[in-house]
Point group: C2
Chain length 238, copies 2
């Protein structure tokens, strides 16, 4: 089922039992104060774990909303095995815009890191998670993105993981590499900061490939959004 | 030649003769006050018509900069036949961000229009052109984007033009349609506003196809950026 012309609400699994869902705080307010939903309306709730509940509003109180579950659908997380490793950028607007776009496009796994040439600024995991949850709901998806921070980007060695580093001067392009075979591996997508990754950083990743997205020099956040667009389109349902 | 690690300057063809280029106003200031370039430095200038001039700074005065041309390269505009028809969006930040990303990704032909459900706001062609010229230079490209406004999106009939309308509920996906055969046609890429295109608007376009980009519901500006990313990657040099 493809959802459209509706809105999603988010409830953590603890707020959901076999027959009812309870919405609290912002979600409850959004439902009745912003969307003006009333008792008897059908709405959709996701638990952020791949489930979507069609449910009917049975009670609206001052502090929460009770919904009766009608049916439940389970989705697949198609891009779970592709973490996006994004450095902290100079402009937090551009950085947050890129996060939001990735969220909409179905990226659910984020490692934010501080690159050698990253502009040093605050790590706002809570704020970033909020942006990603909003993007999940907005785009009618059901996987709460997972976001972590690493001061230095390092991975434990694993034969089954490929590191793809995006670099404008790479000789191979994205479309050369994303064969079906490689889609099944774990793939880290590694993006550089405004000034690029250093040679030391590049060689620090095992089993890595340098790829370019386009011939144009892209801003850091544009490369991130572009790669997310490509993955999202490749993984479209046939 | 793929440019990198440099900056581009922009001069209209009138400022360029067979042997010299004159930079004026903002471009001249940027060269010596921001980039701290000095006489003897090699810099790159584009005329926005597909030419890139490698040139050497011969004189810096208070009001302008004279450059001596060393060599000239001509580029192809790969996406000229694909105008992006973008409605005015509710958020001008999001709208301008999408324009900038399209510019970086190599889209050079823009028709901004007022859709039935467009939020009515000012038409700022001059400001938008400035954003696109900055994106052209930033991404080291040589085609000044062409941007026009239409109050109602209409095209003269032409057998050789295909109108692609992006719609989340379309059955066909982007990758189904972009065969080599269709890449050679003129193709209008038509995007809707936040509330979507109306049925009347959709049927008003001859020879049109509805396509979806991804399964997720995308914000208006995300669909625009996503389509630009795909075209940019498809057209990458082999």
């Amino acid at each position: 089922m493809i959802y459209s012309n509706t809105e999603f609400y988010y409830a953590i699994p603890d707020q959901i039992d076999d027959s009812n869902i309870i919405l609290i705080n912002e979600e409850a307010k959004h439902l009745h104060q912003v969307m003006r939903r009333t008792v008897g309306d059908i709405v959709y709730v996701t638990d952020g774990m791949g489930h979507i509940y069609e449910s009917i509003i049975s009670l609206i109180s001052k502090s929460n909303v009770i919904l009766k579950i009608q049916s439940k659908q389970t989705q697949n997380n198609k891009l779970q095995h592709i973490p996006f490793c994004i450095p902290i950028l100079k402009s937090s607007d551009r950085f947050e815009f890129a996060l939001e776009k990735c969220g909409e496009l179905g990226i659910t796994n984020f490692i934010i890191y501080s690159a050698k040439k990253s502009y040093k600024r605050g790590v706002k995991l809570e704020r970033w998670e909020k942006i990603l949850i909003a993007a999940m709901k907005q785009s009618l998806q059901s996987f709460k993105p997972n976001i972590t921070f690493m001061d230095k980007l390092t991975f434990s060695k694993s034969g089954n993981t490929l590191n793809i580093i995006f670099d404008q001067l790479a000789e191979k392009s994205f479309s050369d590499i994303l064969t079906d075979n490689e889609k099944s591996k774990n793939i880290n997508f590694i993006f550089g900061p405004e000034g690029g990754l250093t040679q030391n950083e590049i060689v620090s990743f095992d089993n890595s490939k340098l790829l370019k997205l386009t011939d144009n020099r892209l801003r850091a956040e544009t490369a991130v959004i572009s790669a997310a667009s490509l993955l999202s389109t490749i993984s479209v349902k046939k």
